[in-house]
Structure formats: C-alpha cells, structure tokens
C-alpha cells in the first residue's frame, strides 16, 4: 500500500510540533439536500419577500387647540412692502397678524380682475417634513393652494378689490359644511397605519410654507412668526423645534375621529401669533394661520 514516507529528525521534534497527515477523500459528500430544499430555501425565500406595508391613507380634518374640528380656516400671507425694500429697511405690512396685499407682490389690478395666468398660477406650497432640521430632513408630502378671489378679495358689490386693498388670504372650508369655500388643503391625507401605531396615536410632521409667484418664478420662504431680525438671520433661528421656519403639525386619532392641528412653538405663539386656532368669538373671526416673508 502506498503511504507517504517522511523522515523527521528527532532533534527537530519539540513540544507542539505538528505533523500533517493528509486524509484524502475521493468522494463528494452528499448531505442535507432535502433539508436544504424544504427548509433552507423556503426560509431564504421568506426572508427575501418584503413585508406588507399598509399604504392606506385617510382624511384628517383640521382641529383647534381643544381638538374640536373647525369648519374653515384662513391663511394670511404677509410680504415685505416694496417701499420698505426700496428704502433699504424691509418691513412687513401692518403690525398684527394681518395679510399683506397683492400690490406687495407687484400684481396689478388687471391680474386679479382678468385672472391672468400669472395670478391664477401663483400658489402657496405646504411641504411636510419628518424633522425640523434643514439638510437632514426628508420631504414626505406637499400640497398646493392656488390664489383665490374669494369674499375677502371682493367689494360688497362682488367686484374684485384693487391690488392696494386686496388681501393675500386664502379661506379653506369643509366640502360638506362649507360648500362655497375652496376645499383643497382643508383636509389632510395621511397613512392611517402610522397614526394608529404612533405613541398616544399622535404623529408629528413639520410644515414648510413657500409662496410661488408666477410673476417672476420666485419662491418666497415664509415663517409663522415675524420675531426675527431681517438684517441678521441666523440658521439657528430658523431651524429646529424652536425655529420659525417649520410649523409643527400633529395628526391624531381623537375620540375615534382622525384630526390634525398646528402646534406653534414659543416664537410662533408670541404676538402677533402666527397660529391662532381659537380666535375670540367676535363676529367674522375664524381660525387663522399667518405667515411672514423671511428673506427680502
């Protein structure tokens, strides 16, 4: 029989010396084929299949601070007046949480009266992010609200107001209870599953608001507060939970009904409040969101 013969000097053998003794096998071991087919493969296939994700979206209705549903609300936009910019000291129109007027955006009367493209194609965009930190956050959703010539933009006789007096405001209402109002943007559509499984069934998003002007293609960055120094804007003032740029929106299942509300931070709550969901009961008042232009 053939064996490997090797001479090993006894002097070379010390402690721990090993001798390789090759054990040659001339067969292919066959093992576990059935197990592989029946379990391993099935397990791997199972692992490779994505879990079912629930993409069901439902309607969320706007609510006030007490989680009572509001039938309609108003959005005011306030821009730097052209005169103040020209003078080198940009300032917003008015002192409270009132809207600016379309003249501030260089619209002319014919734009409103004739509904020119540059008027009707201008819009506000509400963009929704997961966290309030620019550069790190992810865009989750958005919707647009186009310019309106509603009851506030008309005289008592039904004619459009002049650009000097026509407020940049948008009234959004419930499609059933307020059939005469604009409905786009009133309801929010989001994933039911995410809210149902969120802690306390509350799910937060952060809203960034921009106005897109069809006059010049400019996008105006807006904040729900005018508590900032236009000549010295710091990123830390804009970003984060306490910044003015992002407005927190909370989706909640409340008493079996899905609702959302805006929850302003300290800067967005100070006078003039950017978010006023429970206005006093004086006639004509309604929940209002006011946004101010940030950079001229």
């Amino acid at each position: 029989m053939f064996v490997d013969r090797r001479k090993i000097l006894i002097g070379n053998i010390g402690s721990g010396t090993t001798i390789d003794i090759p054990l040659k096998t001339n067969f292919f071991p066959v093992d576990n084929a059935e197990l592989i087919q029946d379990k391993f493969v099935n397990d791997e296939v199972e692992k490779s299949i994505n879990p079912i994700v629930d993409y069901k979206k439902i309607i969320f209705k706007p609510a006030d601070n007490n989680w009572e549903i509001i039938d309609k609300f108003k959005i005011n936009l306030n821009f730097y007046t052209p005169n103040s910019i020209e003078a080198g000291a940009p300032s917003h129109r008015g002192t409270g949480a009132e809207p600016g007027v379309y003249k501030d955006l260089t619209f002319v009367f014919d734009d409103i009266f004739c509904r020119t493209n540059r008027f009707i194609n201008s819009f506000i965009r509400f963009s929704f992010y997961d966290i309030p930190n620019s550069g790190e956050n992810q865009l989750l959703s958005f919707f647009d609200i186009f310019t309106q010539v509603g009851v506030e933009q008309r005289t008592e006789f039904g004619f459009p107001e002049g650009v000097e007096t026509s407020p940049i405001s948008f009234i959004l209402g419930d499609p059933i209870k307020q059939p005469e109002e604009v409905h786009e943007g009133y309801q929010f559509y989001w994933f039911k599953d995410l809210v149902d499984n969120a802690p306390n069934q509350e799910y937060a998003l952060y809203t960034l608001v921009q106005f897109n002007s069809a006059i010049n293609g400019k996008v105006y960055q807006l904040g729900a507060s005018k508590q900032f120094d236009v000549n010295n804007i710091q990123l830390s003032e804009l970003d984060g939970e306490e910044g003015i740029l992002y407005l927190k929106m909370v989706l909640k299942k409340h008493n079996g009904v899905y609702k959302y509300r805006f929850e302003p931070n300290a800067k967005q709550s100070v006078f003039p409040a950017g978010v006023n969901l429970n206005p006093s009961t004086t006639s004509g008042s309604m929940p209002t969101l006011t946004f101010w232009q940030i950079t001229p």
Partner: protein, 677 residues
C-alpha cells in the same frame, strides 16, 4: 493504511533505546468541505406571491359612492317657518298658487311678498326653499354637519321564520310560499288552474312544485296532492302579467281548491324541497359615524341633481372565521343604509316649530326611548313589497292602513339605526341546488311624527300616513360559489370498508378528501358542496369575482343607488268640487270664507269659478282676484265652486298632498318657474 514515522532517539542511536515521555502531537487537518449535490436555485415569482397573499387575506376595505334619489313629496305642511318681530317661531301657510316643484322637491320661492311678512335671514330673494322635511333631513350629503343616514357593513348570520299569511293553523313561511288566489287560465281552448302567491314565487317554467294543504276536488283524489310533484306549465295570468307572482299548473280549475293562508307551495329540485326563511343581518361596523368618511363625490350629481356622496370606510372588515346563516364562509356582505332620527339641528327654528306642533302628543310617541330627544321621524318599521291582501302580514305598503291595522297585521317594528341586528330578505334555499335565491328584499318605512299623528294634533285635519320606504341592504358580492357542484363524496363506504370508528380518524379522513366544513351532509358521512371560487378565478359560466388587492387588503369599490320611495304612490286622481256661498246673508259667521281660504292654501287646490257670472258682474264688476273675495261682505249671495284634486293610492293612508308621477298631469294645472322669478 496509517502513515509510519521513524523516530530516532535523542541521545543514542540504538534501536531498542527509546526516549521516555516524549510526546508528539499529530494534527489531523482536512481541507475538504462538504458541498451540496448541485446548485440550489429558486425563483420567487412575484405573481405567485401576490396570488398567495391575496388568497390568504380576509381583510376588506370598502369605498365608493351612493347616488341618492330623494325628494320631499311627503312634506309636513306647505308652510314657511320664521321668527316674527317678537322673535317667536311661527309659520305661515304658502298658498297653493305659490307652491313649486324643483328637481323633485316641493317648496316655494322667496319673494318680496313673503319676505315682507317674515324675516328668516336664511334665504335670499328668489331662492327655492323646500318644505320640511327638506334637504337637511333627507339628502345623503347634508351641510348642517349632521348625517341623515348611517352606513354599515352587515352580513347574514342567522335565519328566522315568519307568518306571511294570517291563519290559525300555525302555517308559516317555512311551510312554503302562501297562495292567496286561484284563477282560471284559458289556453288552447282548455282551462288550467293558476295560483297567485303572496310574494315572489321564484319559479320558472318547467320547475316542479309540491302542493301543500290544497283541496283535491276530484272524486277519487286522483290529483294525489301529497304524493305527486307538479310541473309549472306557464307563468303569469291570462294576460301574461304578474309573472313573478302567478304560475299555472296543468290541472283543471274545478279539480282543485285552496285554503287561503294554509295552502302553500314549495319548489322541488331532484326530490328536495326548498326551504324558505328570513335572513337576519348583523353589523360588522360598530363605531357608528366614525367608521367611514362621507364627502361630495367629484363632479357627482344624479340625473335629478342630487349630490352624489362618496364614502370611504376607515374600519377594515375582517371576514376570517365568519360564517353565514348556512355555516358557509362569507360570500356576501351588504352595504346597509339606515335612516336616522338625529338628523336635525335642535337649535334651528324649523326643528323648534315642528317640536312644538307635536308637544301635545304622548311622550312615548314623541320622545326617543330612554332619552329626552324629541322625535321628528317615527321609529323605523319594515316589511316587504307584497300583494295587497288583507290577510297578508309584513306588507310594508299597507303600513298605517286602518283596514290592515284592525286585522292585526304584523310588521317588523321599532328598528333603530343603532341596532346591531336587522331582519332582512326572504330567501329560498334548496339542498340540491346548494344555492340561496333572494325572493323578496326588505323595505324600511319612516314617516314624520307630525304626518303620522296629524289628526291627533289637529282634529280638523286628516292623518297623512303615507311614509317613505327604502331598501336598506345593498349586496356586495365578495366571493362566488362554483356553478358546478362537487361530485358527492361517500365516506361511509370507506369507513365501513376499514371499520373506522374513532371520530378523530373520521375527521382526518374528511380532511384528506378535502371536504370543507360547510359541506352539506346529505346522509351520514356523505357530502355535497359547491367550491368557493378563489378571488380572480372564474368558472365556466363566468361566475367569479375580481377586485384589487393592495396593502394586504381587498379593495372593493361600491356604486350604489339609494331610492327613497313613496310608500304608496297615488296614481288615481279625481276632482272634487265644493260650492260655497259668500256674503253677509248666506255666510253671516264667515265660515264659508274661512273654508275658502283653507281651500286656497291646500296643496291640492286647482281652481274656482263663479256659479252665476251675470250677477257677479253686476255686483262687483272689478272682482278678478281671490284676495277680493276674502273682503266681500255684501248682501248679494256669491256662489262659488272650488275645485280640488283628490289623489288615491292602493291603500287608505289618509290625505295625499302630491300626486304620483303615474298620474295623467294633463288634467292638472302646471306653471313655469319663470312666471314667478
């Protein structure tokens, strides 16, 4: 063979001298690795995975639209309700000349004359205002924020028996379809017997029926009614009408007779008699109005300009482990629409007005049980659209007819939208067919408290007992049974052959033959059944369902029309004329004048005429307006004929204000809206 190593002594090289305690470690290293027999490649099919997930899922999500066809032809009164100068809720009657119909709704147009006497701040000039119950109580989409109907998802879960025909013999629906009339049918110069049924018989020509409790008039009882099965010769009466409720047998009419209320028929298939029963439905949605969102459908209006309502059920419906009334997996669900009674704003002046009108009625009538809430609507009653026969129970169209009331007719009563269980349709099930067939759908019936008890409220007025009816259950076919019945499986042969006695073994045997739990056991351990078709699979006849599967759930789009119908549409019109004499002599107490005013304000008022024109022209030549009549107080008798319409339906349901569209309107006056606004 093992490897041989020669080891030399460390100190001397003598063969017999060996080192003591020298240890040599021999390592056994093997670099071979076991490999599989061949490559293992598996293809994961996205489609197969989709089919598997779809098959496994029992979750359903429903969305769609409801197209309402509703109107207020059964309004309370033709009144305008307003706050007077003292801020008191009051009402003024709108004269018949001011009544209009707009898109099926009856109401009035605000005009200067009307706004002068009242101020509601709600409507503007020339705005159409429907009478109550109006848009806010009847439309599916209602802008007062309070829904007028409740949507539910229900399924048939059990059955019950009812007595369709009044009888003292205890004959019920389970005994078969009751016969109410024998008729003679002449065909090819021969007389055949025809039978009219109280409800849809569900028969086709050639079907076989068993006759129960009929009277054999032949001398030798040659008809053999208890032994013989008869074939349906023809459907319909002599004029081929009433095919759903009349069938003809090849028996001479003078050979057979019936006992009304006791004589019944049952369809027979391959020797098996059908079963007849009422299905009961249970709600799968329990949270009421928060189970779904309701909103206007985009561009959605019906032919009659009613807004189409879109809905989306937020609550998922899981049919796992649910079985129907026959113990089978669920194949049918129902979108159930139930009228509610919390459809009005309690602060509105209209609600306050109607509440005040019924305040003298018993609180058991006017108040929702267990609450202080005042009813506007009667509790829901229910029944079927059956033949008009005094001996029939559950005829919803007869509800409120005093002739039926005095006979003690039965109906389903005190139904509320919050109920979890509802009585439903009448179906036929035959063990040979293994299929249920819907014979009669259930109708719900409502009326306003004011109309229902008008005579109690005002003894000078007649009740208006005609209410609205609607079909609450809308079929959602989620699965279909195969059109082919599985071959009969006879386990008894196997059991006998191998002498199997252990129940567990028998159960395992049943599983090995893939006999489903819902299979019908036609005899001990002999089974028949229809296979429930998988979603996306159709059988040879095209039966089967297919709908989207997404996010682990089945999405079903429902497109349903909701008809709010009149209980008993009056199709007959007759003219009533009444002569009245006006003037200080013949009407000193002005009773006739008051009567005349009442007539002018009645919705059925048509016209008036002077009976003696020559005298009138002499006495008051300028009289040309009804208002002038009201001020007339002369000594000359003024004879007037007033013409009103009288509308009649099949049943005695009191006064009818509006004719059905089946009436020939050419005999009535019509006006264009442009005449007013």
């Amino acid at each position: 063979m093992d490897k041989t190593n020669k080891i030399l002594l460390n100190s001397v090289k003598l063969p017999n001298n060996v080192n003591v305690d020298t240890q040599i470690q021999v390592g056994l290293n093997n670099k071979n690795k076991p490999v599989p027999l061949n490559d293992v490649d598996t293809i994961v099919s996205q489609y197969e995975q989709f089919v598997k997930e779809r098959k496994d899922s029992t979750i359903y999500r429903f969305y769609g639209v409801v197209k309402p066809v509703v109107n207020n032809t059964l309004f309370n009164e033709n009144v305008k309700i307003f706050l007077d100068e003292n801020q008191t809720v009051t009402a003024t009657t709108i004269a018949s000349s001011e009544l209009f119909e707009k898109e099926g709704w009856i109401g009035y147009y605000e005009s200067n004359a009307l706004t002068k006497e009242s101020n509601t701040n709600n409507s503007s000039l020339c705005e159409f205002v429907p009478f109550d119950p109006g848009y806010d109580k009847l439309r599916v989409l209602d802008n007062d924020g309070v829904q007028n109907y409740l949507l539910k998802i229900t399924y048939p879960f059990e059955t019950r028996d009812i007595q369709i025909m009044k009888n003292n013999s205890g004959t019920t629906l389970s005994d078969g379809i009751p016969i109410i009339e024998k008729i003679e049918i002449e065909l090819n110069d021969r007389l055949y017997v025809g039978f009219r049924t109280a409800m849809n018989h569900g028969l086709s020509v050639g079907d076989k029926v068993n006759l129960h409790n009929f009277i054999d008039l032949t001398v030798n009882n040659s008809l053999k009614l208890n032994k013989k099965t008869y074939k349906v010769f023809k459907l319909g009466n002599q004029f081929n009408d009433q095919k759903l409720r009349t069938f003809v047998l090849d028996i001479e009419p003078d050979q057979i007779d019936l006992n009304v209320g006791v004589s019944t028929i049952k369809r027979v298939v391959k020797g098996k008699e059908s079963n007849y029963y009422v299905r009961r439905f249970k709600s799968l949605t329990v949270s009421g109005y928060t189970d779904y969102d309701l909103y206007p459908a985009a561009y959605g209006t019906t032919y009659y300009y009613d807004n189409v309502a879109a809905f989306n059920f937020k609550t998922d419906i899981d049919v796992k482990d649910l079985t129907d009334n026959l113990g089978r997996p669920i194949s049918e669900l129902y979108l159930t629409i139930v009228k509610n009674d919390n459809d009005s704003d309690p602060n509105s002046i209209n609600t306050q007005y109607w509440n005040s009108t019924i305040s003298n009625l018993s609180s058991s009538i006017t108040t929702i049980s267990g609450t202080n809430i005042t009813r506007f609507w009667t509790p829901i009653s229910a029944g079927y659209d059956l033949e008009n026969d005094i001996n029939i129970n559950y005829n919803i169209r007869s509800y409120g007819d005093p002739n039926y009331v005095s006979e003690g007719s039965l109906y389903y009563e005190n139904i509320d939208e919050s109920n979890e269980v509802f009585d439903g349709d009448i179906v036929e099930y035959n063990e040979s067919d293994l299929l249920e067939r819907r014979l009669e759908e259930v109708y719900h019936r409502i009326n306003t408290i004011y109309r229902e008890y008008l005579n109690d409220i005002d003894s000078s007025k007649e009740d208006k007992r005609e209410g609205y009816i609607y079909r609450p259950f809308n079929l959602i076919q989620i699965r279909e049974f195969n059109n082919v019945i599985n071959p009969t499986i006879d386990l008894q042969d196997v059991i006998d052959k191998y002498n199997i006695t252990n129940p567990i073994d028998i159960e395992n045997l049943k599983k090995s033959f893939q006999i489903p739990d819902y299979a019908t056991q036609v005899s001990p351990n002999v089974y028949r059944w229809r296979t429930l078709l998988e979603i996306g699979i159709t059988d040879s006849s095209g039966r089967g369902v297919n709908y989207p599967f997404e996010s682990g759930a089945h999405y079903m789009y429902l497109d349903k029309t909701f008809y709010l119908e009149r209980q008993d549409t009056p199709c007959e019109v007759s003219l009533i004329s009444e002569e009245l004499c006006l003037g200080s002599v013949c009407d000193p107490n002005e009773n006739n004048k008051e009567k005349l005013i009442t007539f002018f304000k009645d919705p059925t008022y048509l016209d008036y005429a002077f009976l003696n024109e020559n005298e009138i022209l002499q006495i008051i030549p300028d009289i040309n307006d009804s208002n002038d009549l009201f001020s007339y107080n002369g000594t000359v008798e003024l004879n007037i004929e007033v013409v009103l319409a009288d509308y009649d339906g099949e049943y005695d349901l009191g006064k009818r204000d509006v004719a059905g569209t089946c009436v020939d309107f050419s005999v009535l006056k019509q006006r264009e809206i442009d005449d007013v606004c």
